[in-house]
């Protein structure tokens, strides 16, 4: 339980910390990495709840359409849980690729929701930013995942997949 609280608090701190940094054209999305990770390595309900909390927090703090990120993060977590039965993000390359794909999917969800709620958004700048963010987030993912694993190791927590996993490893 402690590791869940710590993980959530760390993620919230990361979100706040990222908000304190200067505005950059592209920036990593640590929430997305955490959501992808918990979807794969944690129990699905725990993962979904954490994803919802983080998404909701993102919505409240970043001023986005309320529910947009909670919807996206919950969706991504579920997708990660479903795909996690086939792919396990063990190597750095697998983590990078998976997070990049999830980042693109996230952007797709966001764009769809914006369109659905009639919020005008130019497609080309959005795609450009989405790809940039995806690359940066993907490159950042091995670092963050390593940090999470270190934290789990310190707290003597074994996630479900690390122990006796028979899944296909990328």
């Amino acid at each position: 339980m402690l590791h869940l609280v710590l993980l959530t608090l760390s993620a919230l701190t990361l979100i706040l910390g990222q908000m304190s940094l200067p505005l950059l054209p592209v920036s990593p999305n640590p929430t997305l990495i955490i959501v992808t990770y918990v979807g794969q390595f944690y129990s699905p309900i725990t993962g979904l709840v954490i994803s919802f909390i983080l998404g909701y927090f993102l919505d409240v703090t970043t001023g986005a359409l309320l529910g947009l990120n909670s919807f996206s993060m919950v969706s991504l977590c579920y997708l990660s849980f479903v795909l996690g039965k086939r792919i396990v993000m063990q190597s750095g390359l697998a983590q990078t690729l998976t997070v990049f794909i999830f980042s693109i999917i996230y952007s797709g969800i966001v764009y769809s929701l914006f369109s659905f709620f009639s919020i005008n958004i130019s497609i080309y700048p959005f795609v450009r930013t989405a790809v940039g963010n995806g690359i940066v987030t993907a490159l950042f993912s091995p670092i963050l995942i390593t940090a999470i694993k270190r934290m789990e190791l310190t707290l003597r927590f074994k996630n479900e997949r690390d122990e006796g996993s028979k899944d296909i490893k990328v």
Binding site: V49, F52, V60, T61, L65, L66, G67, V74
Partner: protein, 278 residues
């Protein structure tokens, strides 16, 4: 049955319920854009408190970081300024030296003009490293008409005489050397003796009769006898007088007028020797 269905599909149900909550949130927010619920406001306030802390920590970190980077730059700038300061100090020193040299040369020139001697200005280029031989080397020699036995003086007083000369340099025997002897008189009483080099850099006035009037502080000058030094060149001041019983002469020590440790330029009297030679 419902319970079994719920238990079997609890993941999907959780997922769906969270999605529905999100969609509801979006729908409500899209309708009244910018209006936050109480929960949202509470969360935002809590987040802003935390964010203020994080921002101030980040700013503190940034200040330290940029301060450090700035300090690295400052260190480099400091090094450059130190180099520049060092160079400027060196230049100031050179200018000071030139100024002092100028003053010394002016004094020498003034002495040269008032003395009426034929003189050559020479620069001290070496000092004997052996304490038992009190000599200096000057940068004028036979080419400059500087030869053996010529008197060497400064505006302060007598220095010595040329011991040997090469084409471009000459060795000067200082009056403080044991082998040096100059005919001298006490300026006030006109009692005469021979000024010879003594121990510890002093000059001894020898062969001064016991009846001679010599007191500490008396100025001793050259007598002009012997022809090397012209009459009236200052040798120094009497620093000690000892009239020992049973001796013919009194013991008189002279503190040289010239500070030999600070000699840089000297005047070689060239015409007195010629006169003497004649």
């Amino acid at each position: 049955m419902l319970l079994r269905f719920t238990k079997k599909n609890k993941v999907n149900l959780t997922f769906l319920s969270l999605l529905i909550v999100s969609i509801l949130q979006m729908s409500m927010d899209a309708k009244k854009r910018g209006k936050l619920s109480m929960l949202d406001e509470l969360l935002l306030d809590s987040a802003s408190i935390a964010q203020r802390g994080i921002t101030s920590s980040y700013q503190a970190f940034r200040d330290v970081w940029f301060g450090y980077i700035y300090l690295i730059g400052l260190r480099e700038e400091n090094r450059l300024l130190m180099d520049e300061t060092s160079e400027l100090r060196s230049r100031i020193n050179t200018l000071k030296e030139a100024g002092q040299e100028n003053q010394r040369l002016r004094d020498l020139l003034s002495f040269k003009e008032t003395s009426g001697y034929g003189t050559t200005t020479a620069r001290v280029i070496g000092v004997s490293p052996l304490s038992s031989f009190k000599t200096i080397v000057i940068d004028k020699g036979l080419i400059d008409s500087v030869g053996n036995g010529m008197a060497v003086v400064s505006n302060e007083g007598v220095i010595g005489k040329i011991l040997s000369s090469s084409a471009n340099t000459s060795k000067v025997l200082l009056i403080t050397d044991r082998n040096s002897d100059v005919d001298a008189v006490i300026q006030r009483s006109r009692d005469s003796g021979i000024a010879e080099g003594g121990d510890s850099g002093l000059v001894q006035l020898k062969y001064l009769s016991k009846n001679a009037d010599a007191v500490v502080g008396d100025i001793v000058v050259t007598s002009g006898i012997g022809g090397v030094f012209k009459k009236g060149c200052i040798i120094g001041a009497v620093s000690r007088v000892d009239k020992k019983a049973g001796l013919m002469f009194q013991y008189v020590e002279i503190e040289p007028a010239v500070n030999f440790s600070k000699l840089e330029e000297v005047l070689v009297i060239t015409d007195s020797h010629e006169e003497n030679g004649r």
